[in-house]
């Protein structure tokens, strides 16, 4: 597997949210505005890339790996929790608005199954550079997924798209054109479940179609 494939698999084939259904809690909770989703993405990229890199550095030293292996899960958790604490402090210092709106979901990055999952499944068995790329791909894949969910939710719920602080795109003219109101339900919890449900259904439909096409091609060739 070359480096490009290693990066791209996290975005499409093994997308953590849409394909593996990992990290559901933050993806439902912080997707009320695009800005929150972008903030969460940055935090997850930071934590996942560094945790994969550090875990892989530890596990690629034979002596250290032998020592760590029996207690590897607590070791991973300490590494991840330290990085999350760093993110929390940096956000508190420089991005106070985002820190408040993401709230409890910043410390909860610790228990995001994607991060521990990649440490155990990939970083513990691969070289540091590969693990770094894998972590980046997975984090970007997760980020794109929650950004997609948040774009639907914020647009349908308020008719706006908040990109960063005051940078806002007003798309209410579409609702004016259709002579309807934005559907406030989409900013509420129920909207999160519905949006993710429909996106997953669309992805399942596309996958089924592609598999049927592939099966047909195999039949035609053989």
């Amino acid at each position: 597997m070359n480096k490009k494939d290693n990066f791209l698999k996290g975005i499409f084939r093994e997308n953590p949210l849409f394909v593996a259904l990992l990290g559901m809690c933050p993806s439902l909770a912080v997707t009320t505005t695009l800005e929150n989703a972008i903030g969460m993405t940055i935090a997850v990229i930071f934590v996942l890339v560094l945790s994969n890199f550090i875990v892989s550095l530890i596990m690629s030293q034979p002596k250290l790996a032998k020592l760590v292996r029996p207690v590897r899960i607590p070791v991973y958790i300490v590494v991840i929790a330290t990085l999350v604490t760093l993110v929390e402090m940096l956000m508190h210092a420089y991005l106070i608005g985002l820190y408040k709106s993401l709230g409890i979901f910043i410390p909860l990055i610790v228990v995001n199954c994607i991060i521990l999952g990649r440490a155990e499944a990939f970083a513990s068995e691969n070289k540091p550079v590969d693990s770094l790329i894998d972590g980046f791909g997975m984090a970007v894949g997760f980020g794109l997924a929650i950004i997609i969910v948040s774009v639907f939710r914020e647009f349908l719920g308020t008719g706006l798209l908040t990109i960063w602080k005051d940078l806002q795109v007003d798309l209410n003219f579409i609702f004016d054109f259709l002579r309807i109101q934005p559907l406030a339900m989409f900013t509420q919890p129920a909207g999160a479940f519905i949006t993710l449900g429909f996106i997953l259904a669309v992805i399942a439909a596309i996958t089924a179609k592609r598999q049927a096409k592939q099966a047909k091609e195999v039949k035609a060739n053989g």
């Binding site: 604490t85 521990l116 129920a190």
Partner: protein, 195 residues
Amino acid sequence: MDNLIALAFSAFIIQNIILTQFLGICPFIGVSTKRSSALGMGFAVIFVMLISSSVTWVLYRYVLEYFNITYMRTIVFILVIAALVQMVETFLKKVSPSLYKALGIYLPLITTNCAILGVAVLNISNEHNFIEMLVYTTFIGLGFLFVIYIFSMMREKLDYAPVPKAFKGAPIALIVAAILAIIFTRFGGLIEWIL
């Protein structure tokens, strides 16, 4: 007393942990295909949540705040929870094999359940005192049990429903959860009106 009752109601329904705070979605979707496993998971969560919230609360108030190292919160909490789950598992195995049989398989899953860490952190950030913490945690746990049990009953029926192919599995489960979430938001209004 009044405010404890209000706190209990709000933890149980208005701020329901699954449907409005989005904590513990993984077991909510993953372990809710059968009623028996939903019940087991629910009780295991209440049990571990109460123990871990009490321990982390005491640690935070009397150790972390005393030494002025509250920034260590996340690291300390997650380690305490992971260790506690392990201890509870060993303890149950020795003391009550029947209880262990009922809850045992759900315990390892709980370490990565964000509801446990989430409630421990919420108890600190909402500045609950010890009694409030106990009431809040118990009712949050009961709310979890209540919702996951209702949801598992709906999913058992859903197996026989003619669902479009693309919606089978997780998508339809999420949409059913959305309907439950709408119901619970309205319940909140009802209770606010009564109180």
